[in-house]
Each structure stands twice: as C-alpha cells, then as structure tokens.
Amino acid sequence: MGEAICAAAALVASGDPALVGIVALSLLVSLSAVALATLLGLPLGAALAVARFPGRRPIIVLLNALMGLPPVVVGLVVYLLLSRAGPLGDLGLLFTPGAMVIAQTILILPIIAALCRQAVEDAWVEYQEQLRSLGVEGTRAAFTVLWDIRFSLLTAILAGLGRASAEVGAVMIVGGNIDGVTRVMTTAIALETSKGDLPLALGLGLVLIAVVLALNTAAFLVKEAAQRRYG
C-alpha cells in the first residue's frame, strides 16, 4: 500500500503527459456523459413524476431497475450497434471517445432520471396546489419545480458522475483501451493490473479517487453557497 501511495505521488509530481492525457480524457468522457444524461434525464424524470398515464407505474419500476444496468452489458450492446457489421456502423464511432460517451450516457441516464423523478415527486406534493392556483400547470409546472429544486438534483447528478467515472466494462468494450486515444483511468488501471504492475495500478486508482473527490467537494460547496443565497 505504501508503494502505491509513493507511486501515486510520483505519478502526479512527474506531470507525465501520458497520465495527464488519461485523466483529461476520463474527465472529458464522464463529464460529457453526465451533461448529456442530465439534459435528457431531468425532463424525463420530471415528466414521469408529474404526468399521469396508463403504464406509468411499471415504467417507474423499470427505470429504477435500469439503475443497476451492468456496464459490461451496456458496452456489449453499444458495441454491436456501432460495429461495422451493425446498424450504425457507418458512423465510424467505434473505438472512439464518442462511443464511450454514448455508452456511459446510456448507463447513467436511468440513475439521473430515476433519482430526479423521486425528488420531483416529493416536491410536487408541496408545490402542486399553489402552482395550479397561480395558473401554472403541466409542463410549465414541472419545469418550475425542477428548477426550484435544482440544488437537490445535484445529488442525482453526482451519483451519475460517480457511476460513470468508476466503470470500466462499457468503456473497455466500446473504446478498446487504445493507447493515447481511448485509454481512460479505469481501463489503464485494469491494464496495469493485468500486467502485474500493481503499485502503479493502485497509484492510478488513488489519482482517480482524488479527482472524483475534488469534483464532489466542488459540487458540495456550490450547493452550500446556493442554500445560503436562495434559502
């Protein structure tokens, strides 16, 4: 373990361009996936919380279940779609960061949507009557609530970010772990582990944890500041 901490420190201190590239790519892929999943998932969750239609409850159960989608299964399905032999092969996205973003977006979309649905549904109890009284209904009401609880939604988004930055199955399959092109922190750790360089693997792991911790700290501080400002 001590070796690992030394390895991690040496890595970071050296400012090794390969490491910087890997960290940058990890952030680019996971943050892009989080952004996309948020863009799609928040309206989806809000709509599911507020609208009433036949089949609503089975869909909610399904969405909750999809939070546990195995990354490697998502990777496999996306691979089959993007493969040259598959339906979207002509897009030439396989083994590129774009494919990794797509796979991770699919993976974390249910998490963000399901947690958002729960948050909006809970808030809806408080807001609905007053909003209706003011003449705010349907889509507008849903978005008003969504925007009003935006800082609580940060938790859902961070859950998505955590899942995306931690997974290795999906990005390994659709990205191919290509040196310098699609190698991210988790696939690099898997590679070093399989090569037997355990201290380096652990060191990379510590760097990954540190990066995610930094992101979470930033989010927490933003949330606190907002709480003070908006009440």
């Binding site: 996205l93 797509i102 191919g176 290509i178 399989s194 037997g196």
Partner: protein
C-alpha cells in the same frame, strides 16, 4: 429524436478531426510486451498515419476483423490466420516476426520438469503428476499453442482435465498473476514474461523446444475502408526499415522478437 440525432452528429464531428488513422486488432501479449509503443511512433512519424491498437485475444482479434471493425489484424496463430484468409475475410497473410513460448513454473517445481528443453515431455509429466496448471482459455494464440502441445503429448485435454487445470478465460498478464498466486505452471510468450513485474516465485521451467516457436502474421482485412493506409502499414512492417525496428526492440538488453518477413 431530433435531439439524439444532433448529439450523434456532434460525436462524429469531434472524431472527424482525427484523420489519418487505421485500426489494428492485435493480441494483448504483443501490446503488453511494449513492442507497439516502440514501433508505431516510428511509422507515424514517417507517414503521418496513426495506428490505433485494440488489444484482444487472437480469436477475438480475428472476429473483430470478420466484423470489419479493424483494418489490419496482427496475431500469432498460423492455422487460424490461414483460415481467416481462406474464408475471404483477409486479403493476404504476411509473416512478420517470431519469438518463442516459455513454460513458466514455480521455483519449487512440483512436477520436476525444470531445466529441460522438451516441452511435450514436460506437459505429459505435468498431466501425470496433476501439477497445478493455468490455461489462458481465451482462444488466444498462446492458448492455441498450449492446446497443440497437449495434442502432441497425446492428451485429450478437454476430456482429461481435472481440478489441477485452471482455465481462466483472460489475458497473459492475469494468467501470470494467477499462476504466481497459485504456484502453478503456465505457458507464456517470452515477451510478456520479460516485461512482467509480479513474478513472485515463478521462473522459466522449460525453453528452447522447436515446438515452442511462435510465428506472428499480419493480414489486411478485406472490407477495410482505409485500404491504402492499411496496406502502407503492412508494407512498412515487412520492409527492411520495419524489420530493423522490430529487431531493435529490447527489454533489459534482451531482444524480444525476431523479424522473419519474406522467409
């Protein structure tokens, strides 16, 4: 739906700038030996063509070629490669380089095979003594070579394997890790062994047998959309310059791969 289309187009646009690359499916052992990190930059500097390596087992690499997801395959299992070309998936097979396999075993040598140079006899002894043995079990070139050795020893390993025979379905690195952890024998390519860092009590038990010869071949995938660039790479690898670059790759002063294109 329109939103999804826009996002897909954005992803493609981001990738479009990365012109001039080909995708090569190769094996984990070749990549982990470090050969590509040494070899490919030389080619890229000369031609501007980036070679992106997806490292899998030989079987999976050839499958990737069959699906058209790679432009070039570079593996080490001659019968499988020839079948690939015969099936019409590859244009032509070129020999590139060779190295050898080594039988790795624990220092304690439970099957008492260390120091010999007869791989087939060693396999037979391991089978008779039921000494722990780790198999790649992943349709890789190394796995294929291992199966050939069992066959040569007259053992139908599929039927006669027991608890002593551990099939892990993973790459060379994990196989060595597991063998180190279990004090078991394992067939490895010399390249991976030389760069493997977690040796524990493992040493080379048997080497030098002709039957441990390991030939690497490179094939242009028929459906490739980047035929010219892919062929340029193949031409370079078998050219004098490429072959010299391969020979120049060393770990700890030891040469890993021996170029033999055109032989």
């Amino acid at each position: 739906m329109g939103l999804i289309r826009i996002i897909l187009l954005a992803c493609i646009a981001v990738n479009a700038h990365a012109q001039g690359y080909i995708t090569m499916a190769s094996t984990t052992s070749t990549e982990q030996s470090g050969l590509f990190k040494h070899l490919l930059p030389i080619f890229e500097k000369k031609t501007g063509i980036q070679v992106r390596v997806v490292a899998l087992g030989t079987g999976q690499a050839l499958d990737m070629g069959r699906r058209g997801d790679a432009d070039v395959v570079f593996v080490h299992a001659r019968p499988l490669e020839e079948k690939f070309v015969a099936e019409g998936h590859g244009v032509r097979r070129y020999e590139v380089m060779y190295n050898d396999f080594v039988l790795i075993g624990p220092k304690s040598d439970p099957a008492k095979v260390a120091g010999g140079n007869d791989a087939v006899r060693a396999f037979r002894t391991i089978f008779q003594k039921k000494a722990p043995f780790v198999s790649r079990g992943d349709r890789s070139g190394t796995h294929f070579a291992e199966l050939e050795l069992w066959k040569a020893a007259g053992i139908d390993i599929e039927r006669e394997k027991g608890a002593w025979y551990r099939e892990i379905g993973q790459g060379m690195g994990p196989a060595l890790n597991i063998a180190a952890g279990m004090n078991a024998y394992v067939l490895a390519d010399r390249g991976t062994w030389l760069s493997f860092k977690n040796r524990a009590d493992l040493v080379i038990a048997v080497e030098g047998d002709r039957r441990l010869f390991n030939q690497y071949g490179i094939i242009l995938v028929k459906g490739s959309a980047k035929r010219d660039r892919a062929q340029a790479f193949i031409d370079w690898v078998i050219s004098r310059e490429g072959q010299q670059a391969i020979a120049a790759y060393r770990i700890g002063g030891e040469q890993l791969f021996f170029p033999n294109a055109g032989s």
